[in-house]
């Protein structure tokens, strides 16, 4: 890999890491503790700060590489693309936003779905990409979530969905709201089929995403420090002038409040998922 390739790759995968003006750009500064570290060390540690364990946001590709068997991921329905059916324009036309996001991410939407294997266990996987329009759920995300659920109903393999989303995609109006109902309805059928669904809530999971498929897992795993809410802290503070307490709506807070089963460090996630698949995934009798 040339240094240029390496740099361009780095830029894509580390949106939160502040680049330092140090020759070679081999260093990053942690957003949380402000400590500086080698980017290599950060990558070795699953993009978790080696000083304070802050979990950087990561791309779907990184998640796949951390967890699943090499090259085992087969994408499903990668070609579904968003349409600007409301001809929506805010500070910019929705059409243009889509194009920009697609160019930046080299992906057609804020989510990928597919099949992969975890230590040879077949798994249905969905991963949201926060860097694509804030991981917002429009028709495409809703459809993809629904299709991977339907896929799981057929192949009976466990479903993992990694959420990272600001909520519904307002540019698709009421139709984006309905994706909540659509995905949740599909999960009702997954439940009937007795297929385990593990929801892995990553930073941030808010709005319509949290109030639908993200909160309907048989098991909920949260990444440390992840913001998980329906109405986020800013909305609360602006709307009803309540100051939110420290740690409010973070993964650890949700654990205390009974909403998630566990907060798992990224380095431990693979083993934990493997344990769950072993204990829950294979139907007996």
């Amino acid at each position: 890999m040339s240094i240029l390739d390496w740099l361009s790759k780095k830029q894509k995968v580390s949106p939160q890491a502040e680049k330092l003006n140090i020759p070679g750009d081999l260093w990053v500064k942690c957003k949380s503790c402000s400590e500086v570290m080698f980017i290599k060390d950060l990558e070795k540690s699953f993009k978790v700060c080696i000083h304070c364990e802050y979990h950087f946001r990561i791309t779907p590709d990184e998640r796949l590489s951390y967890l699943f068997d090499k090259k085992s991921f087969k994408e499903i329905d990668g070609g579904i693309k968003p349409i600007d059916f409301l001809e929506f324009t805010d500070t910019e036309p929705y059409k243009k936003r889509i194009e920009l996001a697609q160019k930046k991410s080299n992906r057609s939407e804020a989510m990928i779905i597919g099949e992969a294997t975890l230590n040879n266990h077949p798994i249905n996987v969905g991963i949201m990409d926060f860097s694509f329009m804030g991981g917002s759920m429009g028709s495409v995300v809703g459809e993809k979530v629904t299709r991977i659920i339907e896929n799981a109903i057929i192949n009976k393999a466990p479903l993992f969905i990694f959420t990272s989303s600001g909520g519904a995609r307002m540019q698709e109006g009421i139709t984006s709201l309905m994706q909540m109902a659509k995905t949740s309805a599909a999960l009702s059928r997954l439940s009937d089929a007795g297929v385990p669904y593990v929801s892995i809530l990553c930073d941030p999971t808010t709005g319509g995403t949290s109030a639908s498929f993200a909160m309907l897992g048989d098991i909920h795993i949260a990444e440390p420090g992840a913001l998980i809410s329906f109405a986020g802290p800013r909305v609360i503070e602006q709307t009803i002038r309540q100051k939110v307490p420290k740690g409010f709506q973070r993964a650890e807070f949700l654990l205390e409040h009974g909403m998630v089963d566990m907060v798992v460090k990224r380095k431990d996630l693979k083993q934990r998922l493997l344990d769950i698949v072993t204990l829950l995934g294979v139907q007996e009798g």
Binding site: E143, A181, S210, A211, M215, H257
Partner: protein, 316 residues
């Protein structure tokens, strides 16, 4: 009665009529012809205004303080109504009401968001914004309906979920999500009416229905125009623009395939005649339930499922 700003020309005519009437009484001059003329004119102006309403104007009607509320409509349209309370978990949420009712001979379970008509009522009802226990109460009642094979009628009228610390602490995301999932699986028919504001997840949490009807001047939206303006337009004053862009009127929502039909309101809006509104809703319930009474429970569930399954526009 509170008047809406865009009704100003109309209000002026009404005031003139009142003046003339009072004048004709005190002065004993016959002004009947004059009065009749202005009344005709007022009707024309009214028709004109109400046939050219903009989305922000419709939002104002939908939020009108005298907009018929769920409980009043339920009392008006029910032969018999037994309100039920509580989620059996934490609290009875006054922003969601419900119970058993007989409507046009159909025994149903009814659920609705509840707003108030003055500040005191609104504070008690939290302006129609549920806490998690509200959704959970709704779910309890819907499960009761499923158990006893009673159709479910829901009335949507909420600015949305409550953006408050306690609502978040007690897991409103989970509560909304659970309702969406469970409603998908009920085998009894679910008929929903958006009677005022259909605000976001707080509305949808009781809206996964076989039929979704919207009153003519109700709105249904993923976010409030104000919220959209400040987030997307980065300018809180652009809520009028946002309300137009979001396509939230009954006509638009039906056109988008999200609602099934529009229920016409009395000229000048439902707040002038609650009884008329209740009758229209009642007629729709009766005609819908007639249909579903002949349908197989599993087909009823399947219909609802497919309806939501097919929502969304994308290219593949």
């Amino acid at each position: 009665m509170n008047h809406l700003e865009f009704e100003k020309p109309l209000i002026e005519l009404y005031e003139k009529i009142e003046q003339l009437k009072s004048l004709s009484k005190t002065s004993e001059i016959n002004l009947d012809q004059e009065i009749e003329k202005i009344e005709k004119r007022a009707l024309m102006v009214k028709k004109d205004i109400y046939s050219h309403l903009t989305p922000p104007q419709i939002v104002q009607i939908a939020r009108h303080q005298n907009r018929p509320d769920s409980l009043s409509l339920l009392h008006l349209m029910s032969d018999s109504f037994v309100p039920l309370h509580g989620d059996r978990l934490f609290r009875d949420d006054p922003s969601i009401v419900g119970g058993l009712a007989s409507i046009g001979g159909h025994k149903v379970v009814v659920i609705g968001h509840q707003k108030g008509h003055d500040t005191k009522e609104n504070i008690y009802r939290n302006f129609g914004m549920p806490h998690p226990e509200g959704y959970r109460k709704a779910l309890r009642l819907m499960k009761m309906a499923e158990k006893f094979k009673r159709p479910i009628v829901t009335l949507i009228d909420t600015p949305g979920a409550y953006p408050g610390i306690e609502a978040e602490e007690r897991g409103q995301a989970e509560a909304i999500a659970r309702n969406l999932k469970e409603m998908a699986a009920f085998t009894v028919p679910i008929i929903t009416f958006v009677i005022g504001e259909g605000g976001s997840g707080g509305a949808l949490a009781i809206g996964v229905a076989n039929k979704v009807h919207m009153l003519e001047y109700s709105v249904y939206s993923v976010i409030s125009p104000e919220g959209c303006a400040s987030i997307l337009f980065r300018d809180a004053t652009k809520s009028d623009l946002a309300s137009a862009s979001l396509k939230i009127t009954s006509e638009d929502v039906v056109r988008l395939g999200i609602a099934d039909g529009v229920i016409a309101e009395p000229l000048g809006g439902g707040h002038h005649d609650w009884n008329a509104v209740s009758k229209c809703i009642k007629n729709q319930i009766v005609s819908d339930l007639k249909l579903y009474s002949k349908m197989d429970p599993s087909d009823i569930m399947e219909e609802r499922y497919q309806k939501f399954r097919n929502m969304g526009q994308y290219s593949s």
